[in-house]
Amino acid sequence: MIGRSLRALPALVRVGFVESLAYRTEMIIWVFSTTMPLVMMTLWTAVARSVPVVGGGGKSWGTTAFVSYFLSVFIVRQLISGWAGWEMYYEVRQGTLAMRLLRPIHPLLSYGVGNLAALPLRAAVTLPVIVVLFATNARDHLSHDWHVWLLFPFALVGGWVITFFANVAIGALSLFMESSVKLMDVWLAAFFVFSGYLFPLDLFPDWLTAAAKWLPFRYQIGLPVELMTGVHTWESALPLLAKQWAWAAALIVASLAIWNRGLARFQAFGG
């Protein structure tokens, strides 16, 4: 099964990429719905215009610090996105999951590749933002330590793995219950608050910052962004990276367990 899946991989990637091109309107709509960091950027720069905002750790946030933070958030959000949960929900409800199961490739692999194949187009969307980030004085608030930039790709991949397998776990729950899509909404609402998507996490009251350290959401967006914006040194980033991958591993195990048990119950349509 694994050898066969690997041989099919190039074709799967190609199909996924062509699909992302075919549904480009859909992707543009999606990109528009992720412009929240830009809205938050204007809000926070308005708040910090007269007096810089001081975070829990003593860091002082001026307007350009907010600009580089939220531009980084926008970029990271494009690159760690996954939507397998919704796909699974619809396919389970409509019985079309059966088609996917018939293919001689592991279904989770085809979801994963489908989600990854859209990344080139999303990366293209981030290009202008990257240019702005590096060409304006927002650059001053980026990390100057190249060791940290070496860790950045790992944090980004870790963020994607958490997003994808959380999606799989919640999507697989639709094999058990009708309302898994609502769980997805709950996950998203918590994600918006605790990931650093709406504000840098050190602006939280202390007890919420502490909570955010233990929740998975910060490792989806917060950690990669903190690496970009130079919050961490190489040494202080490593334990956080370890925590991120611990979450990733836990979600992989949990989602596979839910998927396997749920699949045993799946009887397609009219079963």
Binding site: I29, V39, V54, S179, F199, F204
Partner: protein, 264 residues
């Protein structure tokens, strides 16, 4: 008119029966509603933080909380009455089953608009009222009766605006069919309405006032309640709402003419 009122009560009853049928869902829905309202308030607390933070220029914490109250109220309208129907129409269009709706001897726009309600979201009215009480105790005075009346008028116009935006988005679904994430787009743009519109730079404020009139839905009613909305703004927003609603209806009629059913 009487016939449509009868239809509306039928549709509402169906929604209630559906909600009661899936009991587990009903409980989950309730928890989700409360959770959403909690997450609506958190960002404001972060912006104002402790007393040392300057907060949003021109808005005290209590005043900004009034805007949040309006945001919770309208989010309730959006999630309770607007989004479920929107999802239903998009499914209809994709599967081609909209034909069955069009064949029925009533206005199609009315039928799809009232097809589904999330009755749980009524709770957001209660939560919004609590938020208003807290907000005005922070401001240190009660709102004037006339100001409350003005804000209620604006509530009606805000609902109409939200509904018109919804119709415009549904119309878009006739042209670009794979639009699962339209509701998601709608909700995430609406998220910007939780902040007083004065925090946005001029271009964005223009967009949020005249193109996607979020300011008219939360900031204007909040200012009316605080007694600082000018009457010209009140009249202007009412007229604007009517124009917006007319455009939405016209677009709907155009879009439905474009509909080719499945395999068309």
């Amino acid at each position: 008119m009487g016939r449509y009122l009868g239809l509306l009560s039928r549709q509402l009853r169906t929604s209630a029966l559906l909600a009661a049928q899936y009991r587990w869902d009903f409980v989950v829905d309730g928890v989700v509603s409360l959770f959403f309202m909690a997450t609506a308030i958190v960002p404001l607390f972060v912006v104002y933080g402790d007393a040392s933070r300057p907060g949003i220029p021109g808005w005290s914490f209590g005043e900004a909380l009034v805007v949040t109250g309006w945001f919770i109220l309208l989010q309730g309208v959006l999630d309770g009455a607007v989004n479920p129907g929107l999802q239903a129409v998009i499914d209809h269009i994709r599967k081609g089953t909209l034909d069955f709706v069009l064949l029925k001897p009533a206005d199609a726009q009315f039928l799809v608009s009232t097809a589904r309600f999330q009755l749980w979201r009524v709770t957001s009215v209660v939560v919004a009222l609590v938020v208003f009480v807290i907000a005005f105790s922070r401001v240190g005075r009660a709102p004037a009766v006339l100001d409350v009346a003005a804000s209620l008028v604006l509530l009606v116009s805000a609902t109409l605006l939200l509904y018109s935006l919804w119709i415009l988005i549904v119309s878009a679904a006739f042209f670009v069919v794979k639009v699962d994430n339209l509701t998601y787009l709608f909700s995430s743009i609406f998220d910007a309405a939780r902040w007083p519109s004065s925090v946005f730079p001029n271009v964005l404020r223009f967009v949020f006032t005249f193109v996607v009139p979020l300011a008219l839905m939360t900031t204007f009613p909040a200012e009316a309640m605080l007694g600082r909305l000018e009457s010209s703004a009140l009249v202007g927003s009412l007229l604007g709402t009517l124009v917006f609603a007319a455009i939405a209806r016209w677009t709907w009629l155009k879009a439905i003419g474009h509909y080719t059913s499945a395999g068309g």
